[in-house]
Symmetry: C2
């Protein structure tokens, strides 16, 4: 199914979902996968579609969104290289709870729901890994719920940017770029605010030298200061 197996094996060894797998096992699993290429802005699946595929991003970036009854959109996650999505739905014989759309040209490995189940039963380590990954999401989502419930927009925007820049794990020293296209509308949909409010906040921050933006690419120039704002320490 896959052309360039050895190169892909390299990628997969860094993927959390496959942590602790033997090269032999990994190779067997890789043989089951489909490698698919997508253009930018292409839809992988829609919220409500029957969930029968599970993806891992090889390169590129995918946007996961939900819409409410009135059609207002919320962005839930931006999985990038090495990250998995679709596990959530695949084992529950349910519909995808989100819509997946690429934001740039993207390649993904895909497995069918039945294959995933089989893989986990054969390699229980994968079950543990999946639990770890899902737990991480739960913790992140819990935090976002907390933020939406108790914090003001400015704090949430700061947190959103830090999160997107991956500045949490990496510490807050030096400047950090968000390496994919990101409109004000996107940021609004991630932080639970309106386009207008985001525009005002980001303009102010640019004026203060907190961040630089050009052509929808944002760079956090003072992550440490942003971190302060995120925590409400004005």
């Amino acid at each position: 199914m896959v052309e360039d197996t050895s190169q892909l094996l390299d990628v997969l060894t860094g993927v959390e979902f496959f942590r602790g797998m033997s090269p032999t096992g990994l190779d067997a699993i890789l043989r089951l996968a489909d490698l698919t290429s997508f253009d930018a802005d292409e839809y992988l699946f829609f919220q409500g579609d029957p969930a029968d595929v599970f993806y891992i991003v090889v390169d590129g970036r995918v946007k996961l969104t939900q819409v409410n009854e009135e059609g207002v959109q919320v962005i839930l996650n931006y999985p990038g290289p090495g990250e998995a999505f679709g596990i959530v739905a695949v084992l529950r014989e349910m519909a995808f709870p989100v819509t997946a759309q690429t934001v740039e040209p993207t390649r993904c490995l895909a497995w069918r729901d039945s294959q995933l189940k089989q893989m986990i039963l054969e390699y229980p380590q994968l079950g543990l890994n999946a639990i770890r990954i899902l737990s991480k999401f739960i913790v992140e989502f819990q935090e976002r719920i907390k933020e939406l419930s108790t914090e003001r927009v400015e704090q949430r925007v700061a947190r959103t940017l830090l999160r997107l820049a991956g500045a949490e794990e990496a510490g807050v020293s030096g400047s950090r770029a968000i390496d994919f296209r990101l409109t004000r509308q996107d940021i609004a949909e991630m932080s639970g605010a309106t386009l207008f409010t985001i525009s005002r906040i980001l303009s102010a921050w640019e004026r203060e030298g907190l961040l630089g933006s050009d052509a929808q690419h944002i760079t956090l120039l003072q992550p440490a200061r942003l971190q302060e704002l995120a925590e409400g320490r004005e």
Copy 2:
């Protein structure tokens, strides 16, 4: 470790985490568990404690909360009989992201982190079950994020009450009681609003005959109408 094994076995067979387990396996797992009784309002663990235990509620009710830097609390979940909590943290060698406190006298089965890991490796079916449970939370949390981002307080309160009454699965016909103590403050902390706003909304709904409340026990008299409010159909 456990006194009344046969009675507990009955409870466990209904638990999602143990779905598909053989009686023999279940029995072996039960032997590893500790059954602990808690009074009302007792703390099981605090946010930030090292996560080394995984619980299943036998009877009673537990409240899972988070606090932000300023000490404002958010309620994330109210696990009841048959429901698991603590899986989230236990496999990630991390701290509990929430505080767990009973809301009434409660009995829980508890396993150590190392035991859970061992159990899953021995019975991969448990891994699949855990993934299903975690996925359900993710979907619920995603929905709450969507609600907090796009809906007004009244809608969110309606949804919170329906969720607590378990009216989603059970359909919306007939009246439904929420069978545990629940203050206005609690509802506020679940729906991302203030005590005052909740009080106003619930008073109005009581006047309209939508719900009845006495001694901190709320009954949804017209779940279908609440469902309409939740969806913004005024």
